[in-house]
């Protein structure tokens, strides 16, 4: 998603190849033998991997509609919070949904929320519609998964992750992001995502339980 959003914001045309990550094509495995993951971005003959690295490549190659800020310190903050969101919010929130054990659920959620508090603070201090200011930027794109994935996880896990009472700015940001013209018609269909997520979270939960025993 991130790569597509960035390309669309910059008005760059591209071809999209759908992969089933549970049934990877030989082409994907050839392009990304080390991680065997999506996204893979191909520009001419160049193959670029890892979504944050692709975002930087796109920003450096197509100068219109810059997504990273200009100031080095602001850029550092954007990169830092993107990392925090990936490692501390996404991983912990997802584990909280998947785990079969109640005390683990609470623990993971608590860790996710600790970092959500910090991200909420960044938004509050920024005083603008998006992390990038009045326009969407790198950090919005990096966190954008939250805008449509968190409501799905909340439904699947029957739990509140981004409670609008605790995280009012983040909740509003999610709404604004979802409604942005470039984002809006590219969101995955919610019902299908819920069903998919229910299945995957059960599988991963079972794996987590097995790992605990072993």
């Amino acid at each position: 998603m991130r790569v597509e959003w960035a390309l669309r914001l910059k008005g760059v045309e591209y071809e999209y190849i759908e992969e089933d990550i549970y049934n990877k094509t030989p082409l994907l495995l050839e392009l990304n033998p080390i991680h065997k993951k999506v996204p893979v971005f191909i520009h001419g003959e160049k193959v670029i991997l890892e979504s944050f690295i692709i975002l930087e490549y796109i920003d450096e190659t197509w100068k219109q509609f810059p997504i990273l800020p200009r100031d080095p310190y602001d850029r550092a903050m954007a990169r830092f919070w993107a990392k925090v969101a990936e490692e501390k919010v996404m991983m912990n929130a997802w584990r909280s949904i998947c785990t079969q054990f109640e005390e683990e659920k609470e623990g993971y959620l608590k860790h996710a929320m600790e970092s959500l508090e910090k991200i909420e603070e960044v938004l509050v201090q920024g005083k603008s519609k998006f992390f990038g200011g009045e326009k969407i930027g790198y950090l919005d794109i990096a966190l954008g998964w939250m805008s449509y994935t968190v409501p799905v996880w909340e439904e699947v896990g029957s739990m509140k992750i981004v409670d609008p009472i605790l995280f009012p700015s983040t909740a509003v940001w999610m709404e604004n992001f979802r409604n942005h013209p470039v984002i809006k018609d590219k969101l995955p269909p919610r019902d299908e995502t819920v069903v998919y997520c229910q299945r995957i979270s059960k599988e991963i939960g079972a794996r987590m339980a097995a790992a605990r025993k072993g």
Binding site: E50, E60, P72, A76, R79
Partner: protein, 224 residues
């Protein structure tokens, strides 16, 4: 106005070493604050409340954490002696390999250090597979950065010092010069760079620390 630069580090942190190298390669002056991670200073906790870790770079009072983020900041703020190439594709590759070091290589090497028996037997080929990717990527260049060291060399740099120590402590050879001729030569060239040579932590102290880490991880659970 002169830049006020502070680096929060520990004597043994491989991540902090990256920052020291980058600052010295660019000829920048800075103050070093050594932390004891068992008793973190209020300043460190104030500057890095999210991760509470080193390294932290503080530039004119503004803190930046996470070593690769700090490296990019240093690169963008001071243009002399560039660490990243100019071409966006080459930059993407440099970043990819730096990330690979942190996300795959590092853990696979630690797994060899902190295990024994069957678990270690399984960990060794994983570490070697990751090293093989690095070996292939070196492609006969002196450094990843070309003739001089760059971003990826700095990210990978700890291996030149830590891997031989881990080999000594575990008795397992990871970098066989026959199987990894390019990495072996890279390690030699890297260690010859004056800024690198001048900053390694004390050897015996590091051996003792790594030995201690291994013993602690292998100690039977439930004993003090």
């Amino acid at each position: 106005m002169a830049d006020d630069l502070k680096v929060f580090r520990t004597w043994s942190s491989r991540f902090a070493l990256r920052i020291i190298w980058a600052l010295q390669l660019k000829g920048l002056e800075y103050e070093t604050i050594f932390e004891d991670l068992s008793q973190k200073s209020p300043l460190l906790l104030q500057y890095n409340p999210t991760y509470k870790k080193v390294p932290v770079l503080v530039h004119n009072g503004k803190p930046i954490s996470e070593s690769l983020v700090i490296l990019e900041y240093i690169e963008e703020t001071w243009n002399q002696n560039p660490l990243l190439p100019e071409d966006p594709y080459e930059r993407a590759k440099a970043r990819f390999w730096a990330k690979f070091v942190d996300e795959k290589l590092l853990q696979s090497v630690i797994d060899v250090l902190v295990t024994e028996g069957k678990k270690q037997e399984e960990a060794v080929p994983r570490a070697k597979e990751n090293l093989k990717y690095i070996e292939e990527e070196l492609k006969g260049n002196k450094f990843f950065g070309g003739a001089t060291i760059g971003f990826t060399d700095i990210a990978l740099g700890w291996t030149a010092y830590w891997l031989p120590i881990i080999e000594e402590v575990t008795g397992i050879k990871l970098i066989d010069a026959d199987k990894f001729p390019r990495i072996s030569e890279w390690m030699q060239n890297f260690c010859d760079v004056p800024v690198i040579k001048a900053n390694w932590p004390p050897y015996d102290k590091m051996v003792a620390k790594i030995q201690g880490t291994r013993e602690k991880c292998l100690a039977p659970k439930g004993t003090d």
